[in-house]
């Protein structure tokens, strides 16, 4: 395997590099060099070859080849991805990769998105910034997901890293616009400030003013998730002095005429997020907007539109044929017919995020118009079905999409009902699925025509989609679906289960069968200690396991923790005020929430009272 990796690296390198001497190129291509032969090359050459290997998994593999390769790889590694911030400590990270420039960190488990994890659970950024700052690491990029970020951390970040270029925060919380002000004021080389779906305490201050006049390097600015007012003229001046700006996503406080002015001074925009315009604009404003939009011939991606009058969408008709990415999933005010009218002209669309108000009819239009579609997400506009509306989507829309869009590989679909027949058709139409997430709004709902479970439907998905990496199942499901998943889903890395299965066998099928499983998250399913404890070694091959409202008991969890000291086994119990008592009786008590993950640094010290680490 490593030999093949080497050869590939060589060929990659030599196809791109003109700086290596001919005799080396010649030798490499003619001979299949083994690693020991490669060691005759100077380190710089090997390092140069490694530069072409970007994927962190490949780099992890290279580092295992030999001691010298491990060392070279360490010092040449600039990008590190840490999927669980508690799996490793900042100090160990820095010791191994002192030349780190780009760091990605993920904190809270995925189900935190759905309010299943207490707010104070953890995932704090500060220790990382503190350590990186003290070690004088030349940090340039930081990407965070579900971390708790404080203004102090942002301030420290902004002062510690001279070359800092890019900050991307996704689903984070704990900071205010004051933290943003520090970033704006102190990061002299800032290129990217991308805030996605964060909970930010908006002090409605002047953070945008804090970008100095000398800051002209911005390439991407996204503050769509901010709730408050911003200084419009500061924004306009910032955009005007940022000739490299490609991506701009504004928040709801940016009115129509301001948007027009922004677009007029940034016709080079590729990615635009639009604010909020409740009222129908005046004819003149509308015409100005349309004129500005026409000039943005490079525009490929459009998003925003929360609380927007439908007519504003029509202003974008002139460029809709160029769009490759469209996110209207926050456009609750735009009705299905307007969505359909717009989307039918977006012939080059590759990514579409939309609300189910588009309806099955709308999805049929998408299927016939958007032949380049690769990723589709359909979100529920009425998640609790309170209005009993008939415009939500069903299996009909899904089948239409699968039939019409040959390049589709990722789907997230919220719907009212599903059938096995439809899922089987979809599986046969789209064998290239990488991600398939289906959420039937009513838990444990069966096939609405046959009243049977959806085991066969999902079974077909895993059987036909041989490259499937991510799967979320829903509806009425027995142990059988997990038998299928264990049998067929060979590439599956992440599985989400809710209200499914009958016995421990279900979970065991998955743990035994899915060799590449990294993340398993389960809620409200009857899996217990037998499944949890059957193969403790399996968890070393996985990033994490989440189980909530299942049948596992405290006793089972304790046994697991004893047998697997390299795991952190966390019990989250929000009903108790303090740590759980440890008397005999409790052993049989069911655990509300269990979260376990492999780690090389043992028990974390920052857990709140509601979390007990066994």
């Amino acid at each position: 395997m490593n030999r093949a990796l080497c050869s590939r690296a060589y060929l990659l390198c030599f196809s791109k590099s003109k700086s290596l001497p001919f005799e080396w190129m010649d030798r490499a291509i003619k001979l299949q060099l083994s690693t020991s032969e490669m060691n005759y090359f100077p380190d710089e050459v090997i390092e140069h070859i490694f530069d072409f290997i970007a994927s962190h998994r490949d780099r992890n593999s290279i580092s295992l080849v030999s001691k010298s390769w491990h060392k070279i790889e360490r010092y040449s590694r600039h990008q590190v991805f840490i999927g669980n911030c508690y799996a490793i400590s900042p100090e160990r990270l820095i010791r191994r990769f002192p030349c780190l420039r780009s760091l990605t960190l993920k904190g809270k488990p995925h189900f935190a998105d759905f309010n299943l994890v207490p707010h104070e659970w953890g995932g704090f950024l500060h220790p990382w910034i503190d350590a990186l700052s003290k070690a004088r690491v030349g940090l340039e990029e930081l990407r965070l997901k579900r971390m708790v970020v404080s203004d102090e951390s942002l301030e420290l970040l902004s002062r510690s890293f001279v070359s800092f270029k890019s900050l991307v925060l996704v689903s984070c919380d704990g900071f205010t616009t004051n933290g943003l002000a520090s970033i704006a004021a102190n990061c002299r080389n800032l290129r990217e400030l991308d805030l996605q779906e964060n909970e930010i305490d908006d002090h409605r201050g002047q953070w945008l003013n804090c970008f100095p006049d000398s800051c002209t390097t911005l390439v991407s600015l996204n503050f769509a998730c901010l709730e408050g007012e911003i200084n419009l003229s500061a924004l306009e001046r910032l955009v005007a002095r940022s000739p490299n700006l490609k991506s701009l996503k504004v928040n709801r406080a940016v009115p129509l005429d301001a948007l027009t002015r922004l677009m007029s001074c940034a016709p080079q925009l590729v990615d635009l997020g639009v604010g909020c315009y409740e009222n129908e604009p005046e004819a003149e404003s509308f015409d100005s907007l349309m004129a500005a939009i026409k000039k943005c011939t490079l525009l490929r991606s459009l998003s925003g539109f929360s609380e927007v009058a439908p007519v504003c969408l029509t202003a974008f008709y002139p460029i809709c044929e160029n769009l490759t990415s469209l996110n209207l999933s926050y456009a609750a005010e735009i009705q299905g017919n307007h969505l359909i009218e717009f989307v039918q002209f977006c012939k080059r669309l590759q990514l579409l995020w939309i609300l189910d108000s588009i309806g099955d009819k709308g999805l049929e239009v998408v299927a016939s118009s958007c032949k380049e579609l690769q990723e589709l997400r359909v979100f529920p506009s009425d998640p609790h079905d309170e209005e009993d509306n008939n415009t939500a989507v069903t299996e009909v829309g899904l089948v239409a999409i699968s039939a019409g869009c040959p390049k589709l590989h990722s789907i997230l679909y919220f719907c009212k009902q599903m059938t096995n027949a439809a899922l089987i058709t979809v599986a046969k139409n789209c064998p290239n699925f990488i991600r398939f997430r289906l959420c039937i709004l009513e838990p444990t709902k069966p096939d609405h025509i046959t009243s049977q479970s959806l085991d066969e439907g999902f079974g077909a998905i895993v059987q036909f989609c041989k490259g499937l990496r991510r799967l979320s199942v829903s509806g009425l499901l027995t142990d059988k679906v997990f038998l299928y998943i264990g049998m067929y889903a060979e590439q599956l890395e992440m599985l989400s289960i809710a209200f499914a299965g009958d016995t421990d066998k279900g979970m065991l099928y998955v743990l035994n069968g899915c060799k590449k499983l990294r993340k398993l998250e389960i809620r409200d399913s009857p899996f217990g200690n037998a499944a949890l404890l059957a193969d403790v070694g399996k968890y070393e091959t996985m990033r994490s396991l989440w189980m909530s409202s299942c049948e596992v008991t405290l006793g089972g969890c304790k046994r697991l923790a004893r047998n697997a000291p390299w795991l952190n086994v966390e019990i989250i119990n929000e009903n108790e005020n303090g740590r759980m008592e440890r008397n005999e009786e409790d052993e049989r008590e069911k655990v509300d929430k269990l979260y376990l993950y492999r780690t090389v640094v043992g028990t974390r010290k920052d857990a709140p009272p509601c979390v007990t680490i066994l």
């Binding site: 998105d113 759905f114 929360s306 926050y330 529920p380 998640p383 309170e386 409200d524």
Partner: protein
């Protein structure tokens, strides 16, 4: 349906629904008072925590209607109309207090003061003028487009 004795009991309670408010088991449309008590228990599937799995940011920003509900309020005899955000209030009582502050008129929404001078009516999504106070608070907020406080003298 509530029987006679229940009705008699409920009429004497001070609360903001009409007498005879019942819990409809299908859709769980309850009077605002009762609903606030029920909120802590996941009574139906639709109230299960974290289901459907839509992330909380998305829930806040698109699904639960828009975040403000400004409506024009006119009171007979007042020189100017006002605009108020119905989302600022959680129940009819709060709205009544606000109107009292803004206009000085004393109204109730539960029909108890039948002799009162001021009658609150509202224009709903269909354009019909309705007596305010019949439906649960959330339903009222969702359907109210305009509010008017009529003086009884005008009605006759």
């Amino acid at each position: 349906m509530a029987n006679e004795s229940n009705l008699a009991h409920e009429i004497t309670e001070l609360r903001l629904g009409l007498p005879g408010d019942i819990i409809v088991t299908g859709k769980k449309r309850v009077s605002s008072e009762v609903e606030s008590e029920l909120k802590c228990e996941p009574a139906t599937k639709s109230q299960v925590v974290g289901w459907p799995p839509v992330c909380s940011f998305r829930r806040k920003n698109s699904l639960e209607e828009t975040r403000t509900a400004y409506v024009k309020v006119s009171v007979d005899g007042a020189a100017f109309l006002r605009k108020i955000d119905l989302k600022m209030y959680k129940r009819y009582q709060d709205l009544a207090s606000a109107l009292q502050i803004l206009f000085g008129c004393f109204i109730t929404f539960d029909g108890t003061l039948k002799e009162s001078e001021c009658v609150p009516i509202y224009e709903d999504k269909d354009g019909d003028w309705m007596l305010a106070g019949d439906v649960p608070w959330e339903m009222f907020v969702a359907s109210c487009k305009r509010l008017r406080v009529m003086k009884r003298s005008v009605m006759k």
